[in-house]
């Protein structure tokens, strides 16, 4: 029924009491927002909590939503602010340790585990896993400002202008941060370039 309806129209419908419109919004954006938060904070449990909180804020703020604002800009602003607050709190508590688990699950290894060894993974699956973990580590190594811009640009395909709106800085600053983020990633992943080419389909 609402599949072809724009996010903004759905939000207006929800403002008029149409709960189904909110359900559609939730089904559309829950997964990308969750992955954005997960890549930002690097922790599944925290990501789940922040995802819940982000949509709760959408619900509470729905009454004040204006049709002129792009819904995704508003949504990712909320999510990004939650992530920034979370990382700030974590930095205050403790500094990331190299031997700390990458996420809360027992299966996840430590950063030391994924540091490349001379031994190459024998099969494609293990290579892929190694590559993804390396990638995750490299993203985590970016500064918050660079990481948020990188995630929104590369994983959510947001235009720089919209990223600038979400982050609340000029567009040029966003591009600059993006450039720095890519430079840093290149350095981090330079050793895995050949590996990435090998596993590429």
């Amino acid at each position: 029924m609402f599949n072809d309806t724009a996010d903004e129209d759905l939000m207006v419908m929800y403002q008029k009491g149409e709960v189904r419109a909110f359900e559609v919004l939730l089904s559309r954006h829950r997964k990308p927002v969750y992955n954005f938060i997960l890549r930002f904070v690097g922790d599944k449990e925290t990501a789940e909590d922040l995802l819940q909180e982000a949509f709760m804020r959408v619900i509470k703020g729905a009454e004040a939503y204006k049709r002129q604002a792009k819904f995704t800009t508003w949504l990712y602003t909320i999510a990004r602010n939650l992530c920034v607050d979370q990382t700030r709190r974590r930095k205050h508590r403790k500094h990331a340790s190299l031997d700390a688990p990458m996420d809360s699950s027992d299966e996840s290894g430590t950063l030391l585990d994924v540091i490349p060894s001379n031994e190459m993974a024998s099969d494609r699956k293990s290579v892929n896993k190694q590559l993804h973990e390396t990638m995750q580590r490299a993203i985590a190594a970016l500064s918050d400002e660079q990481r948020e811009v990188f995630l929104m640009r590369e994983f959510l395909d947001m235009p720089f202008k919209q990223i600038a709106d979400v982050v609340g800085v000029p567009e040029n600053t966003v591009k600059s941060r993006m450039r720095y983020a890519l430079e840093k990633l290149r350095l981090e992943l330079d050793d895995y370039k050949d590996l990435a080419k090998a596993v590429a389909p």
Partner: protein, 279 residues
Amino acid sequence: MTDDEDDGVDRMAGSMRSMWREMPEQEPPMRGLDALMVAARTQAAVMAPEPEHEPWWRRAMAMLVRPPVLAAATAVLLVGSTVMLTRRSDDAVSSPTTQTFGEREGGAWPANAKTEGGIDRDGRDAAPGGNAGAAPERQPPTVARPLRPRPHRVAEPATPPLVTEQPAVTGQTEQHDKLSVATKKEDEKQPRPGDVKQGVEVKPADQVSEADAPAVAPTPTALPAAALVSVDQLIKQAEVAAGRKDCAAVRVTTERIRRLDGNVYKSRVATQPAIKRCL
């Protein structure tokens, strides 16, 4: 920064993009989804616009034009009309017949109506040249109109000639001389047979039947009216009734005579054998 710069940034990412584009997307957990929907419904109920408060008359109009209300109103109208018509029919049947002089004669009683021979309907000689003078002007009888129209009037059987009209035709004006003074005075106000007083027609005495007796019988309320009828007329009526062997009418008439004038009753009524047989 221009589009060229955008392209430069994208070119930088292009060589590495395949590395992170291959990263799998994680499915969000279902935990907390119910709580979100509950909160969403609660908020939706808060945000839902309240129905507009229309003025009461607009709401009433809207309610009235709904088919069930129209149907109910039609039903009430039909039932009410039926009940009303039924009641009117019952009233018309049960109420006494009220046919006025005007209705009977086919017109209203004229102010100076005269019968043949220059005698008015009271049996008195009319003053020559008009109504001014001797006889006080008599107002046409007030026609007792029923309050409501009675469409189902019961047909009244043909009425025999009125008692007061008979002497008018036969020139019986001298009979009035024998009336008592009081009776004379009252006579002008006296209702005549055929007149209508308070919706009840005064019938000639000789037409009083057994069934009519209670209505005509002297009662505390009916007595003054009965007393206005002349004794001679009553004696005549009693004689006629006795001749017809209508003893009920004889008894009623003689009783009226006795009440009016006991001496006349003893001397002229009780002595007549025909009447005596009925008493």
